[in-house]
Symmetry: C2
Subunit: 321 residues, 2 copies
Amino acid sequence: MMHSSRLELNGGHYDILESPPSPVEFSQICHISRPVLIKGYKIPNLQRWSNKYLADTMGDRLLSVAVTPNGYADAVTLSSDGKRYFVEPYYEKMTMRSLLSKLAPSTSNVEDVCYLQSQNGNLFPGSYFTSGDMESDCELINLRDDVPAEIPWCSEALGRSPDAVNLWIGNNRSVTSIHSDPYENIYHVARGCKTFLLVPPTEGWCLKERMFPHATYQRATENSPLLLKPSPSTTPAVRWSSIQHPERPGSLSEMTHPLIIDVNAGETLYLPAGWWHHVRQTGLSIALNWWYDIEPRGSAWVWLRLLRGVAIVAADEEVEE
Amino acid sequence: MMHSSRLELNGGHYDILESPPSPVEFSQICHISRPVLIKGYKIPNLQRWSNKYLADTMGDRLLSVAVTPNGYADAVTLSSDGKRYFVEPYYEKMTMRSLLSKLAPSTSNVEDVCYLQSQNGNLFPGSYFTSGDMESDCELINLRDDVPAEIPWCSEALGRSPDAVNLWIGNNRSVTSIHSDPYENIYHVARGCKTFLLVPPTEGWCLKERMFPHATYQRATENSPLLLKPSPSTTPAVRWSSIQHPERPGSLSEMTHPLIIDVNAGETLYLPAGWWHHVRQTGLSIALNWWYDIEPRGSAWVWLRLLRGVAIVAADEEVEE
């Protein structure tokens, strides 16, 4: 089934599957390398993921939660010194119960923004698959029984296991700035809604990547406010898109053809390797993702490497604003 | 299993499979889009393809055979007027018996060169698959019972039937000039040996495509010698590589990394869409090929279109020799 959205021409539609693909069908989908919304892939145990269940199951275990004053973790931010930095969040340890209470709708907008987004395989790290280390430590190990370590139709299609499986918990105050990953990504929403703004790898040069000095949010003492602290000049600069709000009209070049896809609870997005994505969320949002390494040889690999190079050339040719 | 050849770096090896891939494995192979030699795909009825069997089975049916004075059909050729043309062969109707006798080793080198290379689905045309026209006329219909219409692991992997299935019969005097096709190609050698010189789509710009005026070989009367006849100026010029002998040392740029693969009787080559190929043959060579349409959307399609465009740009920037 084909779903029209904004543009009919190349880039203006995405496919919706009413049931999960077979391994061969998913291999064809990866070869096409365009986003697909998959509606019928169910993960039964997620039905029981109430706030109470999550808090009780995780108990006293501490999670590393990204905290920012504005909801932008890993994003380019204008500092009070007038410069723009690529800023990493402050990481704070807290229980699941504490995280969920901080994400409740009643929370004041002036409080710091929390987002569980540790991205290091917080459910199943790479070592789980490579060394068979079933007891490998990860912060969310108590929830593993509810989550499949692998997506069967994806693992069989790609001929490999995931590189990392992550849980994401946040609310509408958190935004993921536009970036791309060199991974095939299966993204499943368990609760709430995630809105992806997607730009194909061929249009990465429109996103105006620049080199930004590195900074982090820090606190002087445990309870003092977050401050943007530039890192030492020995910390390498970070290559990142200089477009901070691609969702706002006029911020993207007219040569860009973004797709906007809402992924609702129970739905799964195939986000192909190299596609740029900016992610917003509605309500309390709980999601899972499986990252799979791309095939490191052949046509698609050469293609993605070339396109990353094109983006650098385009950046070099423009003067930093 | 990985087979090293000439270069270890990108482009210097090809995989050899000892048995046919599963559909999922072949889908992965198509995604990588590098040539693979498949050793274990057997077509049982080809065992009985002696010259006598072929001649008897085809009987009086006439075949369209390409005839040239030099073995180069569909190739750039220097004419006696000092110009280079893209020359199409003369097509002569003959029986299989007559073709095989003309291809026998005793044939004099001064005779014209015959090559059955009609490429229009001479075993199974596209209409066989699209309209279910099982009786669709094709010159080699008598041999259909011996040849599978589809390669099961390929059709399932690509989710489609072939676009054309062809029989090729020639000898060492025929050479196929370097070109690329926008099809996935399964090439099976039934007798003799075919030697493929393969250049990846990324290096097409090294092949110096140019526009050549069109010509054909013709005879003034049925028995008079073949003459190169320029076509009327209204016939569009043909874009073709200006490198006539890529197999000769020094003819390809040092930036080109050709693969050379011998495909012996009983072996099958996966020749990915867009790969440039120059083909020679040893002895009497009988081969079959299945052309499958490429996926006309997504990454690989954009990539091949881009690379064809790059070749045009490269051609425009060089002065015609």
